[in-house]
Assembly symmetry: none
Homo-oligomer: 215 residues x 4
DNA sequence: AATGAATGAGCCTTCATTCAT
DNA sequence: GATGAATGAAGGCTCATTCAT
């Protein structure tokens, strides 16, 4: 806990954080490929050398950004889950699913740049091998979801493809969000917050009911 | 109608079509940015000069590809709609919505490369101003959907954001499709064909019922 | 004199002439290097193939243009010389020199595009080996000038470098013309017509007088 | 004022200067358009990247060269003017004009490559907006010339177009120089040094005398 | 840790020219 | 004579990355 050492580290961390924000703005404005290191340098105030010293290369900047974005997303979901538990002693599957939709809508609406980046670069970053860090986060949610379902007594849930169920819940929201984030639709995502929640719950119900007999 | 003249045109058109297929393969394999003109040249057998003679530049190749892809998509939807009309004299909204899901699942499953390209380049191409050609097609679907709803007596449908409804219907499918096309999930999209159709119908119902009282 | 054959030739010649005018406009607007065959094609209405069929290559188009320009220039000088002879039975060196300046000023003022082209492409065309055609014209003027001087009894004239004397006479005019043709000065060349004539005569006198004792 | 910092700057400046000389040689040998960046790279020993790092693009290299050339020209004129002032306490207009011709002849003769480049690229560079740097120099000369004339009591001088007068003085010299620099005449410009000076003075006189009554 | 000059492989695009029809 | 699709060499320029200071 040498204070002088600590201070430098904090300063450094802050600089890195600033650089990431600057990079995010560049990526938001020009896209990943069209963003040059020089742009990030100008936006961040760091030198090219420092950027490389801290992040390694361009791809790693995106990786760091992606992780940071996912962390923010994870935070809100955990928060919402915690709140749900706190406020309603015995939350049902419906409330859990709606909570997930709320978390998605709220995070996307509140962090459009992060959301846009995360949506567009999932594939890219996945390839870079640096995803290990948040892999855990994602599977956490999935585990949470399925354990929730099991807890709720929805046995069929487990037999379903978790990716399929995720698509049911967040698919419409993300689909609309993409268009909104790209400026192709004007009505804010948040205006459909309740409707997407209802739809998600209805969709899951529809599949659970039918699914029990068909698949 | 000189046959010799016609032949040249046909040959030319075929060459352009071949070049597009070659370009699609390149884009599929490496992505748009990482694909070089030389790759397309090698894959298509055309010369660099010819590629530029016919398409103008790399972006326009993607545009042409995008239009071609959308045309294929339009074709299948129209076909399914026609078939539905033919087979069921008085199709309900449920059948219409499910038909849309089937068309999407089937086209994506049957044309994964086209689908992948269309999903990833919607934004890019939209910016290029060359989208006029299929704009009509898309609005056709939307018109069809809303006229259908009106015909079914679902008055609330019209008051809803069409983009929102579209997200409800195709959102889960597209969301899952993206992951499948990226190789992130293994279970083929087609295995959830029926389930996505059920979910779409359930979601729309859920919103229509709740929506009539809330919004 | 087969009339059908002749007609075709005339038509052809006219087309070539039109193409040259079109090319001149392109060169004027974009410069020789920046002008593409396609530009000339669009401006002339001829096809690329025809352009090559008639002129051989881009350089030859410039050559033809250069010759055509020089021919026009030659025409006006000959005309002015003829007129001078006709109107003044015994023209002196002063009148001859002023006549040359008038001819230059008038041709440049009346044919700015041709003049601009000729000024800028003298070097280029000279290199192409196609200049033989007008070499004769230029030396004609020089011969005329020196025979004139001899006729006038100005013996020293012959001992002078003909290029040097030419620079004395047309140098200021051409120098100003370049700037005017480039749009760097606004006052038209023609406004200095008389002054340049006076200056040329004065310059030649100054050199002849001093020159007789010095060099 | 750290010496190490200074050294870097000097080294850098020297490299840039060397690169410009190399570029000048290329332009002299092949012309601006025909000179490729690779040629300049080979001639200068710098990498392509460095060339762009320092100059921005090919055009800017020419701009820098043009400015450098004009600076050299400005230097010699100022030197000659200073010398004239020093040696002859009350220089007349004649000496001033002849001095200008001497300066031109001497600079062109002593720096044929720079002169050739400056003559051929005046227009191009003028367009690029980078000319501000030497604009001042040029107008300095003109101011000097006109203040000189005023000082000499040649009132008519001021009423004359300064561009016109400049053409009178340097027109023949530049006209001849162009041909000499292009290799179209063999007799060196310097051999006509005195004659061009005499001619300039005679031309100005001729116009001033006649001009006072005519215009 | 920070800096920014230097590097050079590689890309998109142009365009004069050819040639089959 | 006319046409315009096809060609491919060549060029300007970018930009991620390195490294000496």
């Amino acid at each position: 806990m040498g204070s002088s050492q600590k201070k430098i580290t904090d300063k450094t961390r802050q600089k890195q954080r600033d650089a990431l924000i600057a990079a995010l703005q560049c990526f938001t404005e020009h896209g990943f490929e069209a963003t040059t290191i020089e742009m990030i340098r100008d936006a961040s105030g760091m030198s090219v050398g420092s950027l490389y010293h801290h992040f390694g290369n361009k791809e790693k900047i995106a990786s760091a950004l992606f992780r940071e974005g996912m962390r923010g997303y994870a935070r809100i979901v955990k928060q919402y889950a915690t709140d749900l538990m706190a406020n309603s002693p015995e939350p049902g599957l419906e409330q859990g699913i709606k909570m997930l939709v709320y978390a998605n809508v709220d995070w996307i609406s509140g962090n459009p740049d992060w959301a846009r980046f995360v949506f567009h670069h999932r594939f890219t970053v996945t390839q870079s091998g640096d995803e290990g860090a948040f892999r855990g986060d994602i599977s956490d949610f999935r585990k949470m979801l399925s354990s929730w379902a099991r807890f709720m007594g929805v046995a069929e849930f487990d037999s379903l493809d978790i990716n399929f169920v995720s698509s049911l819940i967040t698919g419409p929201t993300h689909n609309y969000a993409r268009q909104w984030l790209a400026g192709r639709v004007k009505t804010p995502l948040s205006e459909h917050r309740e409707a997407f929640a209802e739809a998600a719950w209805a969709a899951v119900q529809g599949v659970l009911i039918k699914g029990s007999s068909t698949s």
